[in-house]
């Protein structure tokens, strides 16, 4: 495999700082997470402890959704930071809390396992079901989503947060490639 295929493509990498700034701009208090390999640079940035964002690491994604709901009930805003297979793991919790109970949930979902040859193309055409199923699953659950495929899409972060809180509903930010370390 050539180096150009095996290394992340920085042209598609959104900087971690863009997420942190957006979360601060929208008064996000907590990042509730089951760690995501796609968002390693954001995890690293959060771990420095100087962002004003608290981090709750959960054993699985059901707990992340439930804890995010509890935070909201107690008056705090959060982002649920997981990966695509994590969403598949917590669909019933999302149904109960986001859809039936109308509690806003902001998901930041990394497209883990995406083949680099699919970057810049439709994720539904990925050869990996872990990637290609994400948008159809969200469509089925009536959850709006915003693709973050390229640094120029960075306002998708704001749109996902604004949509979740204005609709009192889940909304998802789909992060198509490894975030960069700036």
């Amino acid at each position: 495999m050539s180096n150009s295929v095996s290394r992340p493509d920085q042209a598609f990498a959104v900087p971690a700082s863009a997420f942190i700034k957006a979360y601060q701009r929208h008064q996000i208090d907590w990042v509730v997470t089951v760690p995501d390999f796609v968002q390693l640079s954001i995890h690293s940035r959060l771990a420095k402890g100087d962002t004003g964002l608290s981090v709750l690491t959960c054993a699985n994604e059901n707990q992340a959704v439930q804890a995010a709901a509890g935070l909201y009930i107690g008056g705090k805003r959060s982002v649920v930071m997981i990966q695509n297979q994590g969403l598949y793991n917590c669909m019933n919790a999302v149904r109960a809390i986001g859809l039936d109970a109308h509690i806003p949930l902001v998901f930041a979902i990394g497209q883990f396992g995406r083949e680099f040859s699919n970057l810049g193309a439709d994720p539904r055409l990925s050869k990996r079901r872990m990637v290609s199923l994400l948008e159809p699953v969200l469509d089925t659950m009536d959850i709006p989503y915003f693709q973050l495929e390229h640094p120029r899409d960075v306002d998708a972060i704001d749109k996902a947060i604004e949509t979740a809180y204005s609709r009192q509903h889940p909304a998802a930010l789909l992060i198509g490639h490894y975030t960069s370390w700036e």
């Binding site: 208090d29 959960c58 009930i73 107690g74 809390i97």
Partner: protein, 201 residues
């Protein structure tokens, strides 16, 4: 005297004060008979396994308020990893009670649990890193409740109790699940937010 779910819920009702109570399954059904529409109560329904992490989130958002989680044994088995999630932030206002009747669908149609009900939840909590965990079996043990809630959490009590008689049978089949059951958690969440001074955004 052996403890029943009614004994446990009555004791908790006496001492809860302004605590937020997050309940599910058996405790929810009993509280519905003892104190219907009780304020500051959140039901994890229909969502088995959700009570502890819901309570954890509220505990972190409102660190000056006590949070009492009334979990079920089959519910907690679904999310046993939540014990580890709780001890990460180590909330001192978090009190976790497990109604250990060793059946699923208690009071409706008792079915067996994974592990045939052998789980030791207090031991699991201690191993996960809870500040304290205990095992209570009698109504006399419930007299410790007020003192227990004055100690810092996270703490867990496993309440050993007999299953309630099953009411469903061929002659008394299950009724339709009501719409209200699906709306309930959202309504209770909104009411608790309102009590904290937060409205919908």
């Amino acid at each position: 005297m052996a403890m029943t779910p009614i004994d446990a819920c009555k004791a908790i009702q006496l001492v809860r004060g302004q605590a937020i109570v997050v309940c599910t399954m058996t405790s929810m059904n009993v509280l519905d008979t003892l104190a219907p529409n009780q304020a500051l109560t959140l039901s994890s329904v229909p969502l088995m396994g959700g009570a502890a992490a819901l309570g954890l989130g509220i505990a972190l958002a409102q660190p000056d308020r006590k949070i009492i989680v009334l979990d079920g044994d089959s519910s907690l088995l679904m999310e046993l990893g939540v014990l580890s999630t709780v001890v990460g932030p180590y909330p001192s206002n978090f009190y976790h009670f497990v109604f250990a009747n060793r059946v699923q669908f208690n009071g409706n149609f008792a079915l067996g649990l994974s592990g045939e009900g052998k789980a030791d939840f207090a031991a699991h909590a201690r191993a996960a890193g809870y500040r304290a965990a205990s095992h209570w079996e009698t109504t006399e043990d419930l007299s410790q409740l007020s003192d227990w809630l004055q100690q810092p959490g996270p703490r867990l009590v496993e309440l050993e109790m007999e299953p309630s008689p099953s009411r469903l049978s061929a002659d008394n089949p299950p009724a339709q699940t009501t719409d209200a059951r699906f709306a309930r958690m959202g309504q209770e969440a909104a009411a608790i937010r309102h009590s904290f001074g937060f409205e919908s955004e």
